[in-house]
C-alpha cells in the first residue's frame, strides 16, 4: 500500500481526481467518470505504478445517495507490491462507463457481473451479456430495491408449501431498506 502511488496519479490527472484517502491501510482514489480509461491506462503503463494485475471490479448501490452507484476497481502491482483502489460514481439515470478491458483483459467477466447484478453498462465492448443469471431474467438483483425472493422461474413449478422461510424479509413484504431494516431470525409460518 503506498501513498506515493496515490500522489502520482493525482499529480498526473489533477482534473480527474475528486478525492483520495487512506482507510484501514487501503489507498483509494475517487475519480470522475469521464477520465476512467486514461487513468486506468496510466496505472497500468506507468513504470512507477505498474498496476498490471486486475483484481476485480465491483459495484456498491448507495440507494439513498446521488449518484447512486459506485464502481470500485481494485488493482495490484506484482513488482511494486502495492494496491490501489479506484472508485467511480455512476448515476442511476445514465449507468454507463467506459470499459477497461482494452487495458486489462481480466476485467471482462467482472464487468459482465456488474451489468448482470447492477445494470451498469460498459461502453466499447459490444452488447453486455449476463454472467450469472439467464438472459430471460428481468431486473438486476443486487440493487437494493430488488426483493430478495424475487424468483423468476423458467419452468412451471409444483405447488409445494413452504413452512419455513430462510433469513431475510418474507414474501409479500416490502424489500429491506435503510428505513425498514429486516429483523433477524424471522420464522414466520407461511400459510
Amino acid at each position: 500500500m503506498s501513498v506515493a502511488a496515490l500522489q502520482r496519479v493525482a499529480d498526473r490527472f489533477p482534473e480527474a481526481v475528486v478525492q483520495g484517502y487512506t482507510l484501514h491501510g487501503d489507498e483509494t482514489l475517487v475519480i470522475a467518470r469521464e477520465h476512467l480509461l486514461e487513468v486506468a491506462r496510466f496505472c497500468k503503463e506507468d513504470p512507477e505504478l505498474d498496476l498490471k494485475l486486475p483484481l476485480s471490479v465491483t459495484c456498491v448501490d448507495y440507494i439513498d445517495e446521488k449518484p447512486r452507484f459506485e464502481l470500485v476497481y481494485t488493482l495490484y502491482s506484482i513488482t511494486k507490491k502495492h494496491r490501489l483502489r479506484l472508485k467511480v460514481r455512476v448515476p442511476e439515470e445514465d449507468p454507463e462507463v467506459a470499459s477497461t478491458i482494452s487495458v486489462w483483459r481480466g476485467m471482462d467477466w467482472w464487468e459482465r457481473y456488474c451489468w448482470d447484478m447492477y445494470g451498469i453498462r460498459f461502453s466499447g465492448r459490444g452488447p453486455m451479456r449476463r454472467l450469472w443469471l439467464y438472459e430471460e431474467f428481468e431486473g438486476h438483483p443486487l440493487r437494493k430495491d430488488y426483493p430478495l425472493r424475487g424468483r423468476q422461474p423458467l419452468l412451471p413449478e409444483a405447488d409445494v408449501q413452504d413452512i419455513y422461510r430462510g433469513p431475510g424479509p418474507g414474501p409479500g413484504s416490502p424489500p429491506a431498506s435503510r428505513s425498514n431494516p429486516p429483523r433477524p431470525s424471522q420464522l414466520p409460518i407461511v400459510k
Binding site: 424475487g150 422461474p153 409444483a158 430462510g166 433469513p167
Partner: protein
Amino acid sequence: MSQDFQAITTRREEAQGFFERMISRGLGWARKYSLFTYPYATACCGMEYMSVSGARYDISRFGAEFPRFSPRQADLLMVIGTINLKQAPILKRVYEQMAEPKWVVAFGVCASSGGFYDNYAVLQGIDRIIPVDVYIPGCPPRPEQVLDALILLQEKIAAQNHKLVDHRPPAPEAVRPAGRDLVTGAMK
C-alpha cells in the same frame, strides 16, 4: 434388513398372481442391487458424493458403483447439490431423457428444499419439477447418511411392482403451475 412389503390390495390391476410376484421380486432384487447412478453434481454435496464413492464409504458394495454420465444408460438420478433456476430446465430435460424404470434421490437440503438459499436464484427443492423418491437431508449429509438413504431406496425398489413388460404410462410430472407473483414472491 429388507422387509418384504406384501401390500394387501383389492384393486384388480394391482393384484399379482404367484408367478408375477416371483418375477417382480426377482426384477426388484436385480434392479436394486445394480443401480447405475447419474450423479448430477453441482455443489458442495459433490464432495460428499466423492467420499461416498471413494474407498472408505464404498458405495460399490451396494452395487451402485458405476456412474453413468448419460441419462439413457442410468436409472438412478442423484441430484447432488443446489439446483438454481437456470439449471432447472436442464435437470428436467435430463430426467425426461432417462428411460423407465428410474428413481430420483435428492441429495442434500438444497436439492430437497432449497436449503438456506431462499432467494431469487435458487429452486426451492427439485420436487417442484421432478418427482423424488428419497430425500437426504444434511448440508452436506454425512456419507453414512447417504448409504442409509441408498438402503432405503433399495427397500422401496424391492417393494415396487416390477413387470417384465410394462405398459404403464411414465411417471407423472410433478407440476401444477404455482400461483406466485414473480416479483414479490407472494402467492397470487
